[in-house]
Amino acid sequence: MNTGNFKPAIIYTIYIASTPERVWEALTSAEFSRKYFFGNAVDVDQRIGGAYVVRQADGALHISGVVIECDPPRKLSFTFNVNWPELIEKLGPTLVTYEIEAAGDAVKLTMTESHDRPLDEDILSGGRQGWPAILSSLKSLLETGEPLVVKMAPPQRMLAALKRMGIKTP
């Protein structure tokens, strides 16, 4: 997939008192993700072309994509498409990149969400709401042993915008 035409739409940086290896593990394993990512299980086949899959607690497929770049523990880039009909056709794929750098004794984690076309702020509002909650919870999990269970209300503004575009959401 040619990712050259993707442009960053959301960038979130957070510093975590941990190691790059631990942060990588937390981002790529279900054991961790179930705790900080609203009960969802992340499964990554860590090679270019490998599958990136997120399943809900009940096992249902929620998000799927393909690994574009994989350089553990520094950089992981993958497509991240929510499993709703016509989403990719109407909005294009979503590209997520994690960059993990040592920063003193801590880790600087940068998440970049990119798209191949400009998207309305109503559509992007879901990610703007979700990413800080997910990554704040991951940070708490790695630093304190307990996730910050942020029970997030569904992103109504984004869901209403998807509905206007004819995309069916649960």
Binding site: Y12, T13, I14, Y15, I16, A17, A103, G104, D105, A106, R128, P132, A133, S136, S137, K139, S140, E143, T144, E146, L148, V149, V150, K151, M152
Partner: protein, 152 residues
């Protein structure tokens, strides 16, 4: 074209009151905000100064208190001392909310010049990440305990 703004949201396992205190208490800010203190009487219209904890003559940022509604909302203006350029004054809002058993801190920095946007885009994530670590673990991120010369 409107001037750029920078918005940073972080969820912290703490209370709005503790977060409010951390932003104003010198013994806290020196730990997560580059060994600096915020000096003010915090009354609306008063000046605030972001200065070196060990040397009050070294002032990194100055401004005025625009809004203060403890522990929910604090709004300050933000300028480098001696910067008289027309675009030198920006504005920072701290919104602190209880959110489902934790707290959500939203920092909105508006009216930014390109230079200040660059500086604070690096600064806020580090400072606010360290504030979260301090409140949740009792110790801040070590790299934010030291003075850095440039503000932001």
């Amino acid at each position: 074209m409107s001037k750029p703004e920078f918005v940073y949201v972080v969820y912290i396992h703490s209370t709005p009151a503790k977060i409010w205190d951390a932003l104003q208490n010198p013994e806290m800010t020196k730990e997560f905000w580059g060994r600096r203190r915020n000096r003010s009487d915090w009354k609306i219209g008063s000046q605030w100064r972001h200065e070196n904890y060990d040397d009050a003559t070294e002032v990194a940022v100055i401004g005025t208190i625009v809004e203060s509604d403890p522990p929910r909302r604090l709004v300050l203006t933000w300028t480098h001392p001696n910067d008289t350029a027309p675009d030198a004054v920006s504005r920072v809002s701290f919104d602190i909310e209880e959110y489902k058993g934790s707290a959500r801190l939203t920092v909105t920095h508006t009216d930014l010049s390109p230079e200040m946007l660059r500086a604070i885009s690096t600064g806020w994530p580090a400072v606010l990440s360290s504030l979260k670590t301090l409140l949740e673990t009792g110790a801040s991120l070590p790299m934010t305990r030291q003075n850095w010369k440039k503000a932001g």
